[in-house]
C-alpha cells in the first residue's frame, strides 16, 4: 500500500490551532478566530491536494497510509499511531474540513459578541482535528481516540454557555450517553483482539474471511451500539435534542453535518464485518428504520426550530443507517445521503442560526412568520436546503434518499417491503414537518412582538449559507452521474452486482416518493399556511402530539429505567458503606473495647479473689495436665 508523509498535517494543523488558542489564552483574543479559520481552511487545502494526488493514482493504489510511531505495543497487542486515507475517508475529510471551514467563517460573525469567542474557535479546531483522526485512523483503537475526542469537543461546545445549568446538564447528558456507545466500541475492540488477534482495519478485514460468524456478529452488534450512541440512533438518541443547547454553528457542524454521522462511517468502514454477520446487519436496518420514523414523528411536534431540525437530523441519519444496513447495495448510497445531508442540513442550521440572530435568539417557531420579507437570503438558502431534504428533484436529497428507498424496497421479501414502505412513509412525514418549519418561519403571517426587528445577517454569515445551498443543489446530481460515487467507493465497500430482478423499478420508486412528498407538503400547507397558528403551543392536543412533543417519552423512559434506579442504588451503597462495611470495622473496635472493660471487672481489688483465681488456676492446671496425659 502506498505510504505518505503528509497525512498527519490534515490533523496536525487544526490540533495545533486549538493548542495555541487554549495555551495563549486571552492574549490571542484578537487574532485567535482568524488563525483557527485559516488552519481549518489550510487543512481543507491539504485535503484537496490529497484528493488530486489520489485521482492521479490508479484505482488500486488510491488508498495511502502513514505510520507515525508505534503507539501501544504490549505482547501481541500492537497498535501503531497510523493513518489511512482511502476513497471513503477522503469524502469525510473534505466534508469535515470544507463544511468546517465554512462554519468557522460563519462563526466569526455569529460569535463576534461573545467574550469567549477565542475559546469557541479553539474547540472548533479541536473538533476538526478529532473528527479527522476518527476518519483517518487506520485501526479501531485510533478511531476510538477520535471517537471520544469528538465526544469531548461536542461536550465542550454544547456546554459552551454552561453558566446556564440546563446547558451544562445537556452537555453532560450528551457525554454520558456517548460513553455508553463508546463502551460498545471498546467491547468490539476487545472481542476483535481476543478472537481475531488484531484491531487494525486491514487486519480485521483480512481475518474476517476466516473468522466464525459468532465472533463477527458480536463485533458487529457492539459496533452498532457504538454507532447508535454517536449518531443518536434508537435507543441512544435522547441526547441530540438537548445538544441544541450549543451555539447554532456547533449544531450545524457537529450535530448535523459531521460528528453524528460518524456512526454511519463506522458501519460502512466495517462493511466486511457486517457483510459476514447477517444478524448484526439486520439489527442495523431495524435500528435505522425505527430511528428514521422516530425522528420524523418527533420532528412534527417540535416548535423550537433547532429541535425540529435536530429531530430531522436524527431521522435522516436513520435513513443513512438503514442504507448502510442494506449491505454492499446500500453503503454507497448511505455515504451519498450523508454527504448531501451534510450540505443541506448544515445549511439549514446556519439558516436557523441566522434567523435567531435576526430575532434576537428567539427559537420558538410560533413566534416567527413571514420572515421571507426580512431575510431574503436566509429564506433562499434555507429554502434550497428544504427542497433538498424533502427530496424534490433535482435537488441533492432527491438522489440520495430515493436511492436508499429504492434499495430498501429491493432488499427482497417482506423485509424489503417493510423497510421500503417505512422509508417512504418517513419521506412523507419529512416533507410534512420540514414544510411546517418552512411555513411557520418564513411564509405564514408574522407572530413576533413589536420589539423584534428581524434583519438579514451580515455577509460573513450568509456567504457560507449560500455556498452550502449551492452544495445542496448540485451534489446529488454530481454524485450520481455515471454512478460516480458508487464506483469511487467500490474498492472500499465492495462491488455490488446490479441484481436483475428488482421489486420496483427506480422510476416507480421515484414516483411513489414524489407522491409521498406532495401529500406531506399539502397537509402541512393546509394546516399552517392556510390557517392561523397560535403564538403558544395549544395544550388541548391529541395524546399523540403530546408524547411527540415529549420526544416520545424518551427522557421519561431513561429516567424511570436508568436514572432513578441508579440514584437509589447510589444512595443505598453510600449508606451501606457507612453503616455496613465501615460499621463492621468499627464494630470490631467496639467489641475489643467491650471485652476489655468486661474482663477488667475480674480485677476486683480484693486480694482474696486474686488468691481464689490462683487456686482455681492451679486446680485447672492440674486437671488439664491430667486430662492431657491420661
Amino acid at each position: 500500500m502506498v505510504t505518505s508523509t503528509s497525512l498527519v498535517y490534515l490533523i496536525a494543523l487544526p490540533l495545533f490551532g486549538s493548542a495555541i488558542l487554549l495555551l495563549a489564552g486571552r492574549r490571542s483574543d484578537k487574532w485567535g478566530h482568524l488563525l483557527a479559520t485559516a488552519l481549518s481552511a489550510s487543512s481543507f487545502g491539504v485535503g484537496l491536494y490529497q484528493l488530486s494526488q489520489m485521482l492521479a493514482r490508479p484505482t488500486e493504489e488510491r488508498a495511502i497510509t502513514q505510520k507515525l510511531f508505534s503507539w501501544i505495543n504490549v505482547g501481541t497487542f500492537n497498535v501503531d499511531a497510523g493513518l489511512l486515507l482511502d476513497q471513503l475517508s477522503i469524502c469525510f475529510v473534505l466534508l469535515i474540513t470544507g463544511v468546517g471551514t465554512l462554519i468557522h467563517i460563519y462563526s466569526i460573525s455569529y460569535m463576534s459578541h461573545d467574550e469567549n469567542r477565542r475559546r469557541f474557535f479553539a474547540f472548533l479546531n479541536l473538533f476538526i482535528a478529532a473528527m479527522l483522526l476518527l476518519v483517518l485512523g487506520d485501526s479501531y483503537l485510533n478511531l476510538y481516540v477520535g471517537w471520544e475526542g469528538v465526544g469531548l469537543a461536542s461536550y465542550l461546545l454544547i456546554g459552551f454557555w454552561n453558566q446556564k445549568p440546563a446547558y451544562a446538564t445537556a452537555s453532560k447528558k450528551a457525554f454520558v450517553m456517548n460513553r455508553v456507545g463508546d463502551m460498545g466500541l471498546s467491547f468490539a475492540i476487545m472481542i476483535a483482539f481476543a478472537t481475531l488477534g488484531t484491531v487494525s482495519f486491514s487486519g480485521v478485514q483480512e481475518a474476517s474471511h476466516t473468522a466464525s460468524k459468532a465472533a463477527l456478529t458480536g463485533i458487529g452488534i457492539m459496533l452498532l451500539v457504538a454507532a447508535t450512541g454517536k449518531s443518536a440512533q434508537f435507543p441512544l438518541q435522547a441526547w441530540l435534542g438537548d445538544a441544541m443547547a450549543g451555539p447554532t454553528p456547533v449544531s450545524a457542524l457537529i450535530h448535523a453535518a459531521t460528528m453524528v454521522t460518524a456512526g454511519v462511517y463506522l458501519i460502512v468502514r466495517s462493511n466486511f464485518i457486517f457483510d459476514a454477520a447477517p444478524t448484526a446487519q439486520l439489527l442495523v436496518v431495524i435500528v435505522g428504520a425505527i430511528t428514521l420514523m422516530f425522528g420524523a414523528l418527533v420532528g412534527t411536534a417540535k416548535d423550537d426550530i433547532k429541535k425540529a431540525l435536530a429531530a430531522s437530523t436524527m431521522s435522516q441519519i436513520g435513513y443513512m443507517v438503514l442504507g448502510a444496513g442494506l449491505g454492499p447495495a446500500g453503503y454507497a448510497f448511505a455515504i451519498m445521503h450523508l454527504l448531501t445531508h451534510g450540505f443541506f442540513k448544515a445549511g439549514m442550521f446556519l439558516g436557523a442560526g441566522s434567523v435567531m440572530h435576526g430575532m434576537n435568539d428567539q427559537v420558538d417557531m410560533r413566534r416567527y412568520g413571514a420572515l421571507r420579507k426580512f431575510m431574503p437570503i436566509t429564506f433562499a438558502t434555507f429554502g434550497l436546503g428544504y427542497l433538498a431534504i424533502i427530496g424534490v428533484p433535482p435537488f441533492a436529497g432527491f438522489y440520495s434518499k430515493d436511492a436508499i428507498i429504492e434499495t430498501a424496497f429491493n432488499a427482497g421479501g417482506v423485509k424489503g417491503i417493510l423497510l421500503g414502505s417505512t422509508a417512504l412513509l418517513g419521506a412523507a412525514i419529512t416533507a410534512f414537518y420540514m414544510t411546517r418549519v418552512m411555513v411557520l418561519t418564513f411564509t405564514s403571517k408574522e407572530r413576533w412582538e413589536d420589539d423584534q426587528h428581524p434583519h438579514e445577517s451580515p455577509l460573513l454569515m450568509w456567504l457560507p449559507m449560500a455556498i452550502l445551498a449551492i452544495g445542496s443543489v448540485t451534489t446529488g446530481f454530481l454524485f450520481t452521474r455515471g454512478h460516480a460515487l458508487v464506483n469511487w467507493l467500490a474498492p472500499v465497500v465492495g462491488e455490488h452486482a446490479e441484481d436483475e430482478k428488482v421489486l420496483l423499478q427506480p422510476v416507480v420508486v421515484s414516483a411513489l416518493a414524489l407522491l409521498a412528498v406532495v401529500i406531506g407538503v399539502a397537509i402541512a400547507i393546509r394546516k399552517y399556511q392556510l390557517s392561523d397558528v397560535e403564538k403558544v403551543a395549544p395544550q388541548n392536543v391529541s395524546f399523540f402530539t403530546r408524547i411527540a412533543r415529549k420526544d416520545l417519552m424518551q427522557d421519561s423512559f431513561n429516567e424511570a429505567v436508568f436514572m432513578k434506579p441508579g440514584q437509589t442504588l447510589t444512595a443505598l451503597l453510600v449508606q451501606g458503606d457507612e453503616k455496613v462495611v465501615d460499621g463492621a470495622v468499627r464494630g470490631v473496635g467496639t467489641m475489643a473495647l467491650g471485652a476489655g472493660s468486661a474482663l477488667r471487672k475480674t480485677q476486683t481489688g480484693f486480694a482474696r479473689s486474686y488468691a481464689a483465681l490462683i487456686l482455681i488456676g492451679a486446680i485447672v492446671l492440674i486437671a488439664g495436665i491430667w486430662v492431657v496425659t491420661q
Binding site: F69, S70, W71, I72, N73, V74, G75, T76, F77, A81, L141, Y144, V145, W147, E148, G149, L152, G159, N162, Q163, K164, P165, A168, T169, K172, F175, V176, R179, V180, D182, M183, S186, F187, I189, M190, I191, F193, A194, T195, L196, G197, T198, E206, A207, H209, T210, A211, S212, A215, L569, T570, A571, L573, V574, D577, V581, D582, A584, V585, G589
Partner: protein, 505 residues
C-alpha cells in the same frame, strides 16, 4: 555509591539539614526541602535513563549484611516495574512540595516537622520499591506508616486524629498478618537451605510448601496489600484519611503508598506463591470488579470533593488488581502503567482540589459553582485532571485502562465486560462534580476567588504535560515495563491466550 542507595540517602541527609535550620526560617526550610526533592527527582530520572530495559534481571543491585544470623540483608535492586514506580514517586515529591507550599502552616507542629516527615517518607517510598530483601521491604512497609500517620494527624483537617488512627490500625493489622506469613516463609526457608529473605531465593520455596500452607501465607500477604491498595471491602480507611490529610499528603498516600499494595501483589504474592495466586485469582477478580463498580458509585454519591477522589481511586485500584491477576502481558503491563498514570492523574485532581478548597475554605462540592468563570485556569486544570481520571483517549490513563481491559478480556471476558461499565460511571463521577463546581452560575462566596498563581501553575504544568505526553506516546514507559511484566508471567508459567479465530489458525 549505588544509585538507589544514593536516592534513598539524599532525602535523609536533607531532613538532617532541615533539622538544624531554626524552625522560624520557614522559607529556608521549604526551599531546602524543594531542592532536596528536586535532586532526588533528577537522580531518579538519570537512573531511569541508565536502566537497561532489555535486561529482565534486577539492576542497580546492592547488598550488605544486616542481621546475618537471620539471613537478613540490606539488599536493593530494581526491575522494570520497580524503577517505574520509583520514578513516579520521586517525580511526585517535588511537585507535592511546590504545590502544597503553604499547607504545612496551621498544623499542630511547625512546618519544619512537616518537611522532615515528608523527606523521611520519601526515603521509605524509594526503599519499599527498591528492596529485594523481604525483611527490608517489610521494615519500610511498616515504618512508612509512622510519618504518614503524623502527617495526617498533625497537619490534616477535620477528623484528622481519628482518620490517622484508622489508617494506622488498618495498616498495622494488615502488616501483622503479613508478618505472620513472613515468619512462615522464614521458617520454611530455614528448613530448605538456610534462612534467607532474598526474594529470588524465596521465590523458589513454593515447591516445598503444601498447598494449604501456600494459600495461608499468600492470604497473609494479600490481605496486607489489599488493605493498602485498597480493595473492597478493606477500603473504608482511605476516604477518611484522604479527606483528613493535606492535599500533598493525600497525593503521596493515594499516589505512592497505595501503590505499594499493588506492587507488592506482583512482587510477592505472584512471585512467591504462584499456585496460591492461581487458586485465588477468581476471588480477587470478583473483588476487583466490585471495587471498580462500587468505588465508582460511591464517588458518584460523594458530597465531599476529597472523598470523591478517594472513591475514584478505589475504582481505579480495582482496575489495577484486575489487570495484575488477569495474568496476561497486556493486563500486567497495563496495570503497572496504570499505577504510574494513576499517580499523576490523582495528583492533579488532589492538588487542584486542594487549591480550590484552600481558597473557598470548604471541601463540599455544593459550595463551589461557576468556577470556570471566576478562576478559569484552576477550573480547566481540574477539568483536564478529571478527563484523565475518566481515561479519555489521548490522555495517559486511557492507554493503561484499555490495556487492562483488553488483557483481562482475553482470559476473563466476564470480568472485563462488567468492569467496562465502569467507564460510563467514570463519566458520571467526573462530570457531576465538574458541572457542580465549575459550571452553572457563580455561587455566592466564590465571586472573588483568585486564580492559580505562578507557583501553582509551575507545579501543575509538569503533571498535565506528563498526562498528555504519555497519552500519545507511552512507549518510553511501556518499553521498560514490558520485559519485566513478561518476565513475571513467564515465571508464573503463563502465556497470553492465542486469538481464538486468528487468520493464522
Amino acid at each position: 555509591m549505588n544509585a538507589l542507595t544514593t536516592m534513598m540517602a539524599l532525602p535523609l541527609i536533607g531532613s538532617l539539614l532541615i533539622a538544624i535550620i531554626p524552625s522560624e526560617q520557614v522559607l529556608r526550610i521549604k526551599q531546602a526541602t524543594f531542592i532536596t526533592t528536586l535532586l532526588v527527582a533528577i537522580s531518579g530520572v538519570l537512573t531511569w535513563i541508565k536502566f537497561d530495559s532489555a535486561n529482565t534481571a534486577l539492576q542497580f543491585v546492592e547488598s550488605a549484611k544486616w542481621i546475618p544470623s537471620f539471613g537478613i540483608n540490606y539488599a536493593v535492586g530494581v526491575d522494570g516495574l520497580a524503577i517505574v514506580l520509583i520514578l513516579m514517586s520521586v517525580l511526585l515529591a517535588p511537585i507535592v512540595v511546590l504545590a502544597g507550599w503553604n499547607e504545612s502552616e496551621g498544623g499542630r507542629w511547625s512546618p519544619k516537622v512537616f518537611y522532615i516527615l515528608i523527606l523521611v517518607l520519601e526515603t521509605m517510598m524509594i526503599g519499599v520499591f527498591a528492596a529485594t530483601d523481604l525483611f527490608l521491604f517489610y521494615v519500610f512497609f511498616e515504618a512508612m506508616l509512622i510519618p504518614v500517620y503524623f502527617l495526617i494527624g498533625g497537619f490534616g483537617s477535620g477528623e484528622r486524629a481519628a482518620a490517622a488512627v484508622k489508617f494506622l490500625l488498618y495498616s498495622l493489622f494488615g502488616g501483622l498478618l503479613m508478618l505472620a506469613s513472613i515468619i512462615g516463609l522464614y521458617v520454611i526457608s530455614g528448613a530448605n537451605g538456610g534462612h534467607t529473605f532474598d526474594i529470588t531465593r524465596l521465590s523458589e520455596l513454593h515447591t516445598y510448601m503444601s498447598s494449604t500452607t501456600q494459600n495461608l501465607l499468600f492470604l497473609g500477604f494479600f490481605i496486607a496489600f489489599a488493605i493498602k491498595a485498597p480493595v473492597w471491602p478493606l477500603h473504608t480507611w482511605l476516604p477518611d484519611a484522604a479527606a483528613a490529610a493535606t492535599p500533598g499528603t493525600s497525593v503521596l498516600l493515594l499516589g505512592v503508598l497505595d501503590k505499594v499494595g499493588t506492587f507488592g501483589m506482583i512482587r510477592f504474592c505472584l512471585a512467591l506463591f504462584p499456585d496460591a495466586s492461581k487458586t485465588f485469582t477468581p476471588l480477587i477478580l470478583v473483588l476487583s470488579v466490585i471495587s471498580i463498580i462500587y468505588g465508582a458509585f460511591l464517588a458518584i454519591g460523594a458530597r465531599d470533593i476529597k472523598r470523591l477522589i478517594a472513591y475514584t481511586s478505589i475504582s481505579h485500584f480495582g482496575f489495577i488488581t484486575m489487570g495484575i491477576f488477569a495474568m496476561t502481558s497486556q493486563g500486567m503491563s497495563g496495570a503497572t502503567l496504570y499505577m504510574f498514570n494513576h499517580g499523576f492523574s490523582t495528583a492533579a485532581l488532589f492538588l487542584v482540589a486542594g487549591w480550590m478548597i484552600s481558597r473557598r475554605g470548604s471541601s463540599t462540592i455544593a459550595d463551589f459553582g461557576g468556577l470556570q468563570r471566576v478562576t478559569p485556569i484552576m477550573a480547566w486544570s481540574f477539568f483536564i485532571a478529571g478527563m484523565s481520571s475518566l481515561a479519555l483517549p489521548g490522555l495517559s490513563s486511557f492507554v493503561s485502562e484499555f490495556l487492562v481491559l483488553v488483557g483481562t478480556y482475553t482470559r476473563y471476558p466476564v470480568a472485563a465486560v462488567i468492569a467496562t461499565f465502569g467507564i460510563v460511571l467514570a463519566a458520571l463521577y467526573i462530570l457531576i462534580p465538574v458541572q457542580k463546581a465549575l459550571h452553572g452560575p457563580t455561587t455566592p462566596g466564590n465571586e472573588n476567588l483568585s486564580d492559580l498563581n505562578l507557583r501553582e501553575k509551575i507545579a501543575i504544568a509538569p503533571v498535565v504535560a506528563i498526562i498528555v505526553a504519555l497519552g500519545f506516546y507511552p512507549s518510553p514507559l511501556l518499553n521498560v515495563i514490558n520485559p519485566a511484566s513478561a518476565h513475571v508471567l513467564e515465571v508464573q508459567g503463563f502465556t497470553d491466550p492465542v486469538p481464538s479465530e486468528s487468520a493464522g489458525k
